[in-house]
Each structure stands twice: as structure tokens, then as C-alpha cells.
Symmetry: C2
Subunit: 254 residues, 2 copies
């Protein structure tokens, strides 16, 4: 019987009969905070082996042991989509990472643009947000959060075959989003999603040289997100929706 209410991301392999040792933090959460006792069910996923129902075999203050019982959900990989965004204020940056994990991005890349103030990010904190989003939302995959990278360096070493959709929102351009030069392609029915990336500009917009470079790249596709100015975190969710509908794994008849 699957009576488990708690979903937990773990690093260890999961499989029939597999034993999963718990570190101090997880033991404290499960036994101290959530008051689970021996025999209680927990849903586990590790981003590779799907979701498993496990039972508490040993519950201690500083550790514990879970036993995998049965697979409850198969691994569901997101499309090969990267979300590139310029870090903004802490709460909104956290939010973008959470939403990217929920909306099915495979990799999250904070980028430093000419108009980005952030010199560094807390990669470990952002990665923890991605894990928490997957735990909360029934995901079986956790996107990797990369370290902060300069946009020009990322574009200089751009991987062959990956397309880039970029959204030019912000106040810098006087309120009008750049009109797309060509419509975004649409995935043909039956074709699998292709490697793509979405780039969300910083709140101040891209610099003129960044914008010129982006428009000159053969793999880059500008898109408009409507006639209103969107904050970067709103633009991230809207762009992920647009991409998933047209090129990703959403049901295209919806």
C-alpha cells in the first residue's frame, strides 16, 4: 500500500531490495520533524531510477535506513532544454530556479550579462531549490544548476546543434519587446523535442552590443512575449510555456 506522503530526493541508487542510508539532515527531517517511525512509507527519487516507495527500516537521531519496496513512477526526463537567465534579486532568482524545475528544463544556467549586477551566485542554494521543487511537484528528475558564466563566453563556445530562443524584455528598450524576425518553429507531430536553450534577459535589458550579437547568431531566435513588459521571473515562466507548447513535450492539441 502506498501511504507515503513525503517525497525525498536522495543521491543513492534506487531499485528493488535496495537499502538507502540516511544522513543526519534527512534523518532529522524524517524522524524529528515529520515523526515517521519504523515501517512508514517514503517516496524516493534520485533523478536516474524513477520514483520508489521505501519503508523506514531503522530510525535514529543521527541516521537511519530505508528499504526500497517497489517502483511507483518511471523516470521522466524533460526535453533537452536549458534555461539561461541573468540573476536578479534573491527571491526572484530562487523563484526562476523553482519554476524552471517545475516546467521541465533539463539544465539551469545563470549568466552574467553586461547589465547584470551579480558577480557570484550561491550555486549550492539554487541547486537545493531545484531539488525542493522536484520533491514538491512529483518530478523524478532534477535539473542541474550550473555555475555563473559570462554570456559572451557561453555564446563563444555554443554547442553545435542547439538552438537558442531569446526574450528581450525590460525597460531598456522603452517598453516595446523586439518584434520577432521570423516565427519560432513548431515541432512536427511525431518528432522528438530537439536541443534548445531559452535566454531571459536581465531586468535592464541586453546591452546594444549583446543585442546585436544575439541577432547575428544563426542559431538564435528572438521571440516576443506580448505587448506588456514582463519582469524577468514572469518572462521565464511565459517563455518556458511558449517553448513547451511549440517545441517541447506538452500536448500540442491543448
Amino acid at each position: 500500500m502506498n501511504d507515503a506522503k513525503i517525497r525525498l530526493y536522495v543521491d543513492q541508487p534506487l531499485g528493488a531490495g535496495q537499502t538507502v542510508p540516511l544522513d543526519r539532515d534527512k534523518a532529522h527531517y524524517l524522524f524529528g520533524v515529520m515523526r515517521l517511525s519504523e515501517g512508514a512509507g517514503v517516496l524516493l527519487f534520485n533523478g536516474r531510477d524513477g520514483e520508489w516507495l521505501a519503508r523506514v527500516a531503522e530510525a535514529g537521531k543521527r541516521g537511519g535506513l530505508l528499504h526500497c519496496e517497489a517502483q511507483t513512477r518511471q523516470l521522466r526526463m524533460p526535453p533537452d532544454l536549458w534555461l539561461l537567465f541573468a540573476p536578479i534579486k534573491k527571491a526572484r532568482t530562487d523563484f526562476i530556479v523553482e519554476k524552471a524545475a517545475e516546467m521541465g528544463a533539463a539544465r539551469i544556467v545563470p549568466v552574467q550579462t553586461d547589465f547584470t549586477n551579480a558577480e557570484r551566485i550561491r550555486q549550492d542554494r539554487l541547486q537545493a531549490h531545484a531539488v525542493e521543487a522536484a520533491e514538491q511537484c512529483g518530478g523524478t528528475f532534477v535539473p542541474e544548476v550550473a555555475d555563473l558564466v559570462r554570456l559572451d563566453r557561453l555564446l563563444a563556445g555554443w554547442p553545435e546543434g542547439r538552438q537558442l530562443m531569446f526574450c528581450d524584455e525590460g525597460f531598456a528598450d522603452g517598453g516595446a519587446a523586439t518584434a520577432p524576425s521570423a516565427p519560432l518553429p513548431c515541432r512536427a507531430s511525431g518528432q522528438l523535442p530537439q536541443p534548445w536553450a531559452i535566454l531571459i534577459g536581465p531586468e535592464g535589458g541586453f546591452s546594444p552590443s549583446e543585442r546585436a550579437r544575439l541577432h547575428s547568431l544563426p542559431f538564435a531566435h528572438p521571440v516576443s512575449l506580448g505587448p506588456r513588459i514582463l519582469r524577468a521571473d514572469t518572462a521565464a515562466v511565459a517563455a518556458l510555456t511558449l517553448w513547451q507548447m511549440r517545441l517541447g513535450d506538452w500536448d500540442q492539441t491543448a
Copy 2:
């Protein structure tokens, strides 16, 4: 010269030569916090007359006076779209209101469903969030936030001619979003957006009787927001994007 950095929502009429008196709060913000002095420019909007550049004519601690100089932006009305949502935790409810204002909803209606815990909302606080979102995002219109209403009462008195798109996300249905019975229509090119509403379910999903009723309504259209479970705030932005792309005022070639 438009040197104004600050955008402010006011209640008063705006027009050439119009004088706008400031209450204590706004005077404190402009002169105490932002340190504006006489002659400084401020952008004003009231949701009816577009955006106007005004100049500080009198600056005091308890009040002040602005003079309208020139219109800087015409009024841009959103499509006639309502966003109905079940209030959730405070921060995420605030977020939904902010995003609805940014994404171009005309009216925001918190609804009480069978699985909603909220008994009341702070309508004034949510309305202030909608105002702030419009101030920050260059909007010239502020959606009205309605008082909390029971979903069954709202549906019983549903206005003729308004369509309803509903999103059935959440944990209650075991993770699979309901497949749409028919694709959402698409606005014909040249046709203006029609009256619609979007309904976002509570985190626990709709109750079986609510779901049955929604599916039986001739004006209701179920939609799927992809294969992943979305939190209610994510679903709100994704649903607004989907609607704006297919039926609203976004450029449909994007």
C-alpha cells in the same frame, strides 16, 4: 524632457494642465524616500487616461502637488480576461495577483473551492499588489481584485457569452493532468479577443463534484498544462501565457 524614473498610480483624473494633489503617503514616498524636489518629473497613470509626465509643483512633508505636462503613453486595455484562482499561501497568492496584472488580466477573482482552506482574503492588500505590479511594469491599466466568492455561486451566476478555460492541476488526481476533451479554440486573425476567464484549481485539486460540474458546463474548456504537476502559481502564469498566445493580444506569429 522625460527624465522621470518613478511611475505612480493615482486616483485622480490626468490630462493636459491637470493638477494632482498628493496624499501624505505619496508625498512621503516621493519627497521623503525618493528625495524628489520641485521640478522633478514623475510618470502618473490612473487606469483610465494613459500615462502622463508630471512635474513636482509643491513638495511638502504631508502633501504636495504635481502638474501634468504631457501624455507619454496611451491607455492600453488588456483583453476582457478574468483570472479565477483559489487562494493559497500568502506569498504565492501575492505572486499570482502580481503576475496576473503583468500578464494582462482585466479582473482577478479569488474563489473558494471545496478544497480551499482560505475563509477570507485581504482584498485591499491584493489590490495594492496589482497596483504595484502595474507601476513596476509600465502598465497603464490596473486589474480589479474582487472579493472572495464561492466557486459554485460564481458558476451559478455566470455571465452569458463568457468562456471559461480551466486547469486541473494538483496532487489529487495522482499526477496526471486531465486530458483536454477538445482543443482550445484559437482566435482568428483580425478577430478581437473575446470575454474569457481562466480558472486555476487549488493545490489539492478540484473536488469530484466540482470537476464533474466544470466538465458539464457548455462554456467551460478543460486544458492540459503539460505532463508535469505545476504549483498553482506556476499554473497561473502558464495558463495566462497559453491563453494570451491563442486567444489574447499576443502576436500570434511569435
